[in-house]
Every structure is written in structure tokens, then in C-alpha cells.
């Protein structure tokens, strides 16, 4: 079947099998391997993207189900060289180590802050409880999201290796 899905504001049209999962549709798109997967049972959150602004687990959606909706992936966070406060916060507060859970965590954070711009620590922990991180113990992720809440304006700064 033919599907046409809006990802990061761009319409992507492709012939797919109905069973193709959204996460695979995204990852098969050139330049969009930032959305990861880490389990078979919708537990780990590595695949989280925004669907009409709300975090969803893209491994538990068919690509076909995303037609007619707006998908945003991690690649959409930086705009014209300006990092999203979430990205900046993760870098400032050392909220990533291996980086594998990071896109899912950041998109979850982005969804949270868009709805609740001033979350408490408990609200942050609850919001990210659908994702697993093996590296950071979550402490710095929580601090990074708080930082992003406190610094809501994107900062055009060089973050390069």
C-alpha cells in the first residue's frame, strides 16, 4: 500500500507493507536514524517520537496509522543551527552517556515541556518513566529537563565535537 506521512514538516510518500512499523518507516528514511529501538514489548522508550505533539512509542504503531498526523523526530529539534533547550540542557548537565536512549528521552521531554512548561522533579520523573536508561541513573536527565524548563529560549551556540 502507498502511504504519505508528514515527518518533521516534510511529506514522505512510499510504497510499504501494511505491517511496516512506524519506527522502521522513520529509520528507512535517509537521515532519520536518530529514532532508535531497544526492545520488543513497548517498554524501553528508545523509539519515542511526537505524534501531533504527544510522545508515542513508534515501535507500537504501524506506519499506516501515522498518515494524517504530524510526526516529529529528534532531527527536528535543532532549527537553523539553533539547538532546542532540551538538547542544550542534556549537553550542559551531562544527561547522556552512550546516547542510545537520548532521542527518545529528549522527545519525551519536549512533549512534556510543550504541555507543562514548569514541571516539578516528580512530574519529570513520571513523564520519563516510559523510557529506560542504563547509563545515567536518570539524575542528570531530570536536571537537564529542569534546565530546559528554566532556559526556554533556544541559544545559538556552537556545540561541536
Amino acid at each position: 500500500m502507498n502511504v504519505s506521512i508528514s515527518i518533521n514538516g516534510e511529506r514522505i510518500t512510499r510504497e510499504i507493507e501494511p505491517r511496516l512499523l512506524l519506527v522502521h518507516f522513520i529509520r528507512d528514511t535517509p537521515g532519520l536514524t536518530g529514532t532508535h529501538w531497544g526492545c520488543d514489548t513497548s517498554n524501553c522508550g528508545a523509539c519515542v517520537v511526537l505524534l501531533d505533539g504527544a510522545p508515542v512509542k513508534s515501535c507500537t504503531m504501524l506506519a499506516a496509522m501515522a498518515e494524517g498526523h504530524e510526526i516529529r523526530t529528534v532531527e527536528s529539534l535543532e532549527v537553523d543551527g539553533v539547538l532546542d533547550p532540551v538538547q542544550k540542557g542534556f549537553h550542559e548537565l551531562h544527561a547522556l552517556q552512550c546516547g542510545f536512549c537520548t532521542p527518545g528521552m529528549m522527545m519525551t521531554a519536549r512533549g512534556l515541556l510543550d504541555e507543562n512548561p514548569d514541571p516539578t522533579e516528580q512530574e519529570i520523573r513520571t513523564a520519563i518513566s516510559g523510557g529506560i536508561c542504563r547509563c545515567t541513573g536518570y539524575k542528570n536527565i531530570v536536571a537537564a529537563i529542569r534546565w530546559a524548563a528554566e532556559h526556554p529560549n533556544g541559544v545559538k551556540e556552537e556545540v561541536h565535537a
Partner: protein, 794 residues
């Protein structure tokens, strides 16, 4: 050991050298531009999928691949018969055993590899698995390590000539049995416990996988793989597959966590390589999460019996007996001379009179492995054992568990300290670290709060653990893996512009090496870290070494980088002397600059020296141009980081649900290159400890069915189960390490489970008489302990 300055460069506010520096590698990860294994697509690439055994123990009667081969998208189906013609049906393990790549005669654990499908795409490969018809004849299975050596236990390794039972590794001993018997005979108090460290799993968020790309025209085998020891793997593949080692290139790009899970060579890798050699196209194999949990290197599974004794208020003796469950094949990873890893560091942080340890390993019908998950080669098991026993002894002696530790600690003046089981601890001031932890925790206040709560029927526990571990394997005369000495190399090249490239053997899986190793060069040479490129993960572009696990990166590769930087600095001194028309001995160093002693205006920057090294101007007599150096570092000893941990738990008296309210961790890992990264490593390991103590476990039923083969059943803590960790530090430099650093990655996983379990028992002892509980402390198991009933079956 050279004392290293820690001064920021005058030109910039960012540290040039040690200090809290934000990570260079973040740039790609925060943009979703990491390159993990499954992100890599090569032209003409095909996909592999593995058919696995549903039975824990069964004879294979027949395998019919015809229906799978008839699938239009299937290119090949590989079975043991096919691998036999290539000599690849079995492969050697790190423990000098053999492991089936694909099962031929029998399957020996649920999830064992039986056939490998190669198809055009992942979905078709998965479909084809259900088109392979295997007829099995189930056999009785043994999944309990204690039963594995029963005379009527089914024989698992009937493939090994002369194997009559399920003993995987003969009895291994350390310490002095006679001296230990004497200590126990003279003791005032003796306690004993049966303690299990259950099977758990490192479960990194990225599963294991490989792309193998063999070019039949050139004979080059390109491998993309997330593994923790690329050079060692290359050597193994050369032996196993009979390939020329110099024609194998392994590239580990970004790895989504390792924790020891990505150390072994897995059958899927060998099948991908075999597939690519035969088909001449790239073959990608990526395991799913069930495969990861069911078949890859698990951790722990130690069944232990221990006794500990004290005299005059001080711990004097320890004896430990261990049955180690290695699964169906002995593939544990540890240095050759240490079949039980470093378990015999179990004498811990105490000035014991004597200790005796014996470990034997058995086969069971479970996945192979055992050494993984930040274990420091079994030190997690050892520290768990000794710290549980110290608390058991404190209970029996009716003394505060911290007081007993303080009285029994090795004292600062006793270092370097030789333990009764043959370790030489380098440096330590244990009491100081313990005091810092008590202060951060507010220990006295916590005890007061506990008493008040107890009076109201509320259950609160305070648990302590103190650990000394040994990391940084290791000296070549003692430590090799598969005959490969555990040394690491470092190559440093300074370009004419003063920019540097340092190539290292260590293999990051998130530890921040692109930043910390640049910081070492920065510290030694004064070149800003952003001008130092750290090269790693490519066997063609990095020096031979044994990779990253066992917290060895800083102790070994870090030592190598420090020494190679000093070699460059020494050469730079000679060039500087020529530039300044002075004698080398008249020059002094400040970070980034050689200058004339007594005339500090007269100096040259390292960048200027670099330019001189390459331009046509005069160089010292006999010196070659360029500013490069190369070393292989052979550490003189392990390093011995240590720490004091305190856990505070609350237990619901009716539901028995345990919450870790606070966790205080004071680590002493010597000099800290980047405190931000050190803290991050500790946070992560503590979260793993919360998981292991409360919820992570791999269990089996009597037929050998794995009951925790997905993230629905293998539970990993979320942000809601982890407290806001409170960290402290003490710094006791390592006297033999070039930087005084010790390494820290595994310490938090080593030290945290016993603190939490000790806290649970502390909450329940006075009111419910609980004096032991095995992990995980799930509500059901805690409740059973509170009722005095035996723990539910594992």
C-alpha cells in the same frame, strides 16, 4: 608518580586538562546523529535472523529448511552441517571451552542457535524462521546449579570427550585453609549464611549485532560491530575462521551501552561472517531483545556458602564456598590464570587474619556466560558476599555495622597491603571515606528517625556497604585473555599546526573517552581538548589493546596516554632547548610551554615546537623530525578504587513494597580526570544496583523455560524507582598509576546491591527477625521473609 598540575590555561576559561568539561561526543548524540550498528546500511546488504531452540535440552532429530528456502526473499539457510564444512560449527570460548555456533547434535539451553536465515530484508528473515521445521526429542533439563552435580543429573556436555558430569571448571582455591581454620577456632563469634547472587543481565539498551562484509576479490573482511574489545575479536576471528588477521578490519562506531554484554563473540557474529564469506555480500545480523536476554552473556549466578568470624571486636576470618553456574558452555571472560575471576578479593576492605575461598563451576541448561554487568571479573559477587557477611556478623555481635567495619578496616599506614588471598591493594584511607558518607547521610539522624518510625510501626532501614575492588587488568606477567596480554597501546601524533590525534585501544560504550582521553593529553601537553582528536574503535587505526571492561580504560589506556604524552613532551623539551638556545636541563615546564628556568619570558609554546618539529630548521643532533610517540603500557598492578555507600529504604508493612528513599555514595577512585563524567558513571551503576537489588532477575522453570525474556518480565528501574543519588568523594591517588587515577565504572554496581539488601534486613530484623534475604527484594519475596516463610521459588 608525577604530580600533575591542574591549572586552567590563561587563554581560556575552559579547563585545559582535568576538570568538569562538557563532552565532545555529545554533538552528534543530541542531534540523533550517532552511528549505531543498526544505522549502518551498505549497498547489497542482506539480513540474517537466528532460529532458536524452544527447548532447554533436546536432541535434534531433523532440520528441514525446504519451506524457508522456497520463500522468494530468502537467499540461504545455514545449519550446523553447513558450518561443519567450514570448520565453524563449534568455536573456542574465552574460558578454553568450546561453544556450538549452531546446534548440531543437541540443544543445550532455551534460545540456543539452531539455524541462520539470510534474506533480503529483516521482515522476510523473521518470517522465514517459522518456515524452518525442526524436530526435537526433549530431554530432562537441569537448571539448578546445586543439582547439576547430582549423580542422576542429565549430562549436558556429552560432546566433550571424557566429560562424565556437569563440572565445567574444577575446584579453584585461594587463601590459606589451615590458617583460616585456626582463625575460626580462636574466634569469639562465628556466623554462617547461604547467599545467592541471582542471575541477572546487563541488558544494554542497544542489542548486539554485526555487519560482516567480505570482499572475495581482495580477501578483506570488514566488520561493523559494537564490541568492547575489537582487537581481541579480530585475533579470535582470524583463528576461528582461518582468515588472515591483517585483512580483517573491525569498526566499532557508536555503541549503545556494553556493560560486559558486548565482550563475548556470539554465534550470530560467526554466522554473519560465514554468510558473507559464502555469499560475497554484506550480511547484517541484529538480535532482538528476547534473544539478548535469553542467549547473550548473562551475569552472576553464584550460589555461595560463607562463614565469617571475629575476635576482640574485629573481623578475623572468612571462608567461602561457591558453586558458579556457567550455563551450557563455559564462556566466562576473565584472565586465563583466574578462572573464578577476581572473586578471591572477597576478603574485602578488612585486615583479616586469614581467608579461604573455593569455587567450582558447573554446566546447566541455561545460556552461557557469567562474567558481565560491571562485575570487575566477579568482584560484584565477592563484595556482595563479604558485605552481607559483615552485616550478619554485626547482627550476631549486636554491634553497629559501621562500627564493626571501622574497627576492622585496613589502616592507611598498612598500604600497600597484601591480602590473605594474594592481592596488593595500592592505597586507601577507608575510615575517612566512611566518615564522609556518614556525614552526607546524616547517619545519627537517620538512626533516630528509624527508632521513632519503628515505635509507630513504620519500617525504615539503613544499609551500609564498603567495598574495595581491583580494576585495570593488568600486568602482562599475570593477566592475559586467550593468551593476549592485557596491555594497551597509545599513539600520539602532533601535527605541524599543533593539533593532536591520540589513538587508543580502549573502546567507549558511553564512558566519554572522546573527552576524557583528550583531557589527559591536554593535561600533559597543554593542547586544548578541542584540538585533540581521540581515535578509537577501528582496528586499522588504533593500537592493539584489550578494550574496555573491568573498568580498565583509565588505569590502562589512561596510563598509556599519559606516558605517550610525556614521551612527546620529553621530545618537545629537546626541540625547545634548540629553539631557545639553552640546555634541556635548564628548561622548566608549565602546561603548554617549555621555558628557561629563572627567565620565564623566554619560552616556546607546544604549538611552536610542533611547527619546528616539521619545518626545515635545525633539530637536535640525531633526532628525527615530527612530534609523535607510541607506547604499549604494561601496568605494574591493578588499581584499587573503594567507596562507602549508605542506602535508606522504606518498606510498606502491609504490602512489603520496598522504596529506596536515599542513596549516598562516596567513591575514592584516586585522581578524577573529569568529575562530571565520574559522577555520571556512578549514577548509572547505582541505578543498576537498585535494579539488581529490587527487581532484575533471570529465572527458569523446571523445564528450563526462561521466564524473563522480555522487558515486560526483565524489569529495569525507571526514573521513578531511582532516588536522587547523593554523591561525595575522597581522593587518595594511586601511587603506581601515571596520573594517580584508579578507574570507577564498575564500583557503583559493585557496592550498591549489598547496601540496599543490608538496608532491607535492617528494616526488618528488629520487628520480624529477618536476618537474610536473597535478591531481588521484590514485594513477594520481602513479604515471605517477613512472615518467616521460605522465599518463593526462583
Amino acid at each position: 608518580m608525577t604530580v600533575v598540575e591542574n591549572l586552567p590555561s590563561p587563554q581560556t576559561e575552559r579547563p585545559i586538562g582535568f576538570g568538569r568539561l562538557k563532552r565532545k561526543e555529545d554533538a552528534r548524540f543530541i542531534r540523533g546523529k550517532g552511528t549505531y550498528l543498526d544505522d549502518i546500511r551498505l549497498p547489497g546488504m542482506v539480513h540474517g535472523a537466528m532460529l532458536r531452540s524452544p527447548f532447554a535440552h533436546a536432541r535434534i532429530v531433523s532440520i528441514d529448511t525446504s519451506r524457508a528456502l522456497a520463500h522468494p526473499n530468502v537467499a540461504a539457510v545455514v545449519t550446523a552441517k553447513d558450518l561443519e564444512t567450514l570448520g565453524l560449527a563449534w568455536m573456542p570460548t574465552i574460558s578454553y571451552d568450546t561453544q556450538a555456533v549452531l546446534a548440531g547434535d543437541k540443544v543445550r539451553f532455551q534460545g540456543q542457535e539452531v539455524a541462520f536465515v539470510i534474506a533480503t530484508d529483516e521482515y522476510s528473515a523473521n518470517d522465514a524462521l517459522s518456515l524452518i521445521d525442526v524436530e526435537y526429542e526433549p530431554l530432562p533439563a537441569v537448571v539448578n546449579a546445586r543439582k547439576a552435580l547430582d549423580p542422576d543429573a542429565p549430562l549436558i556436555r556429552d560432546d566433550k570427550a571424557g566429560q562424565r558430569d556437569n563440572l565445567a571448571s574444577p575446584l579453584w582455591e585461594a587463601g590459606d585453609q589451615e590458617a583460616t581454620d585456626r582463625a575460626f577456632a580462636e574466634a569469639d563469634t562465628v556466623v554462617s549464611r547461604d547467599i545467592i547472587y541471582p542471575r541477572c543481565h546487563p541488558a544494554p539498551l542497544e542489542t548486539c549485532g554485526m555487519i560482516a562484509d567480505f570482499n572475495p576479490e581482495t580477501g578483506q573482511l570488514d566488520i561493523y560491530n559494537g564490541n568492547q574489545a575489537p582487537h581481541a575479536h579480530r585475533t579470535v576471528y582470524a583463528h576461528v575462521a582461518g582468515l588472515a588477521e591483517h585483512m580483517i578490519r573491525i569498526r566499532c562506531q557508536d555503541i549503545g551501552g556494553g556493560f560486559g554484554n558486548k565482550v563475548p563473540v556470539y554465534p550470530g557474529y560467526v554466522c554473519a561472517i560465514a554468510g558473507s564469506i559464502v555469499a560475497g555480500v554484506p550480511v547484517k545480523w541484529v538480535e532482538n531483545r528476547s534473544e539478548n536476554l535469553m542467549s547473550t552473556g548473562f551475569a552472576r549466578d553464584y550460589v555461595m556458602h560463607a562463614e565469617m568470624c571475629s575476635k576482640d571486636g574485629k573481623i578475623t576470618g572468612l571462608r567461602v564456598d561457591v558453586i558458579a553456574d556457567h550455563g551450557a558452555f563455559d564462556s566466562t571472560a576473565q584472565p586465563t590464570k583466574f578462572p573464578a575471576g577476581f572473586f578471591h578479593i572477597v576478603c574485602g576492605s578488612y585486615d583479616l587474619q586469614a581467608a579461604h575461598v573455593q569455587v567450582k563451576a558447573v554446566y546447566t541448561n541455561k545460556a552461557p556466560g557469567g562474567v558481565a554487568y560491571r562485575c570487575s571479573f566477579r568482584i560484584t559477587e565477592a563484595v556482595y558476599l563479604v558485605e552481607r557477611m559483615v552485616d550478619a556478623l554485626a547482627l550476631e555481635m549486636d554491634v553497629d555495622p559501621i562500627d564493626l567495619r571501622m574497627r576492622s578496616f585496613i589502616k592507611p599506614e598498612q598500604f600497600p597491603y597484601e591480602t590473605t588471598t594474594g592481592w596488593t591493594y595500592d592505597s586507601g584511607n577507608y575510615a575517612e571515606t566512611m566518615r564522609v558518607a556518614m556525614e552526607i547521610a546524616g547517619y545519627e539522624d537517620l538512626r533516630r528517625e528509624q527508632a521513632e518510625k519503628r515505635a509507630r510501626g513504620e519500617l525504615m532501614g539503613i544499609g551500609v556497604s564498603f567495598f574495595t575492588e581491583g580494576v585495570g587488568a593488568g600486568p602482562r606477567k599475570h593477566m592475559d585473555i586467550l593468551g593476549l596480554a592485557m596491555n594497551d597501546g597509545a599513539d600520539l601524533r602532533i601535527h605541524p599546526s599543533g593539533k593532536a590525534v591520540v589513538s587508543i585501544s580502549a573502546q567507549t560504550q558511553g564512558q566519554g573517552h572522546e573527552t576524557t582521553f583528550a583531557q589527559i593529553v591536554a593535561e600533559e601537553l597543554g593542547i586544548p581538548p578541542e584540538d585533540v582528536e581521540v581515535r578509537h574503535g577501528d582496528t586499522d587505526r588504533s593500537p592493539y589493546g584489550l578494550g574496555t571492561y573491568g573498568s580498565r580504560s583509565t588505569p590502562v589506556s589512561g596510563g598509556a596516554v599519559a606516558i605517550v604524552s610525556r614521551k612527546v613532551r620529553d621530545k618537545a623539551r629537546l626541540i625547545a632547548a634548540t629553539m631557545l638556545e639553552a640546555r634541556p636541563e635548564d628548561l622548566a615546564w608549565e602546561k603548554g610551554r617549555w621555558y628557561v628556568k629563572g627567565d620565564p619570558e623566554k619560552g616556546v609554546l607546544i604549538e611552536e615546537i610542533a611547527e619546528r618539529a616539521y619545518n626545515g630548521e635545525e633539530l637536535p643532533e640525531g633526532m628525527e623530525g615530527g612530534l609523535d610517540a607510541q607506547v604499549i603500557y604494561d601496568p605494574p598492578n591493578l588499581t584499587y578504587p573503594y567507596g562507602a555507600y549508605i542506602a535508606v529504604v522504606d518498606i510498606d508493612p502491609d504490602t512489603a513494597h520496598v522504596t529506596v528513599r536515599r542513596f549516598i555514595a562516596v567513591d575514592d577512585c584516586g585522581v578524577r580526570i573529569n568529575p562530571m563524567i565520574v559522577d555520571g558513571q556512578i549514577h548509572g551503576g547505582l541505578a543498576e544496583g537498585v535494579g539488581i537489588a529490587l527487581m532484575e532477575v533471570i529465572t527458569f522453570d523446571d523445564e528450563g523455560n526462561c521466564l524473563n525474556s522480555s522487558f515486560m518480565d526483565y524489569l529495569i528501574p525507571t526514573a521513578l524507582e531511582c532516588p536522587d543519588f547523593e554523591l561525595g568523594e575522597t581522593v587518595t591517588p594511586c601511587p603506581h598509576h601515571p596520573l594517580g587515577a584508579k578507574g570507577v565504572g564498575e564500583s557503583p554496581n559493585v557496592g550498591s546491591p549489598p547496601a540496599i539488601v543490608n538496608a532491607v534486613i535492617d528494616a526488618l530484623h528488629a520487628t520480624h527477625g529477618v536476618d537474610h534475604i536473597d535478591m531481588p527484594c521484590t514485594p513477594a519475596r520481602v513479604w515471605a521473609a517477613m512472615q518467616g516463610r521460605p522465599a518463593p521459588p526462583q
